[in-house]
Symmetry: C2
């Protein structure tokens, strides 16, 4: 990814959604050290166990899901957070009728996301909107 040398302003509604897989939409901004993404999960979506070299730290904004991290399973609701060190396995299952919106951050940045196709910008599912 190109080096980030200047500041950037963005808004979730103007960022092109990228589909990580069916029912999992990410809208990331990338810094030099951090990727911050608004992530939306549709109801009933599963992200099977996976791991990556990026540390992952996040918080729930809206809705609920079940997170299994390092073999420990927890329900996550608005205001709940997690810290996942690099290479620790984790899996996600979205619960509830309306999916969820979370803020996820990664370091180093998710260079592997850059080639995921970008859709037309569309409003994010945000509590205050």
């Amino acid at each position: 990814m190109p080096a980030v040398t200047t500041h950037e302003f963005a808004s979730v509604d103007d960022l092109p959604p990228q589909m990580l897989r069916d029912g999992i939409c990410v809208r990331p901004v990338h810094g030099r050290h951090i990727t911050l993404a608004v992530v939306e999960l549709d109801p009933g979506v599963r992200m099977p166990e996976h791991r990556h070299p990026n540390e992952q730290v996040g918080v729930v904004i809206r809705g609920a899901f079940t997170f299994t991290v390092g073999g420990e399973t927890r329900t996550r609701q608005p205001g709940d957070m997690w810290v996942i060190p690099p290479e620790v396995a984790h899996a996600v299952e979205s619960t509830g009728d309306d999916g969820c919106t979370i803020v996820e951050t990664f370091s180093p940045p998710r260079g592997d996301w850059v080639d995921i196709p970008r859709r037309q910008p569309a409003p994010g599912r945000w509590p205050a909107r």
Copy 2:
């Protein structure tokens, strides 16, 4: 700060608030590479121009504020984001009648926050609560 070797779950309501200054409350979790903090600004609070070696990337959850970054001033509302490279000057002024809640992330982590006194946990101002 101690090295992070295992995963961690947390919740904004269980984290001890730390006052960065009068009217600016942070509830951080610290990873090896990232600090993620729920930050609450009271109405009318000003954080004067400052800079630090940590990259800073964030998003607004609730309320509004004015952000001046690298000499550019923008209103930030729910879903609005920013990427501030290391050592770029920035200043904050909270607007509106109810302050705001934002998610801020930093890399490297905010080791300089570790010695800020911790208050008793108290519920965060969160849209869904």
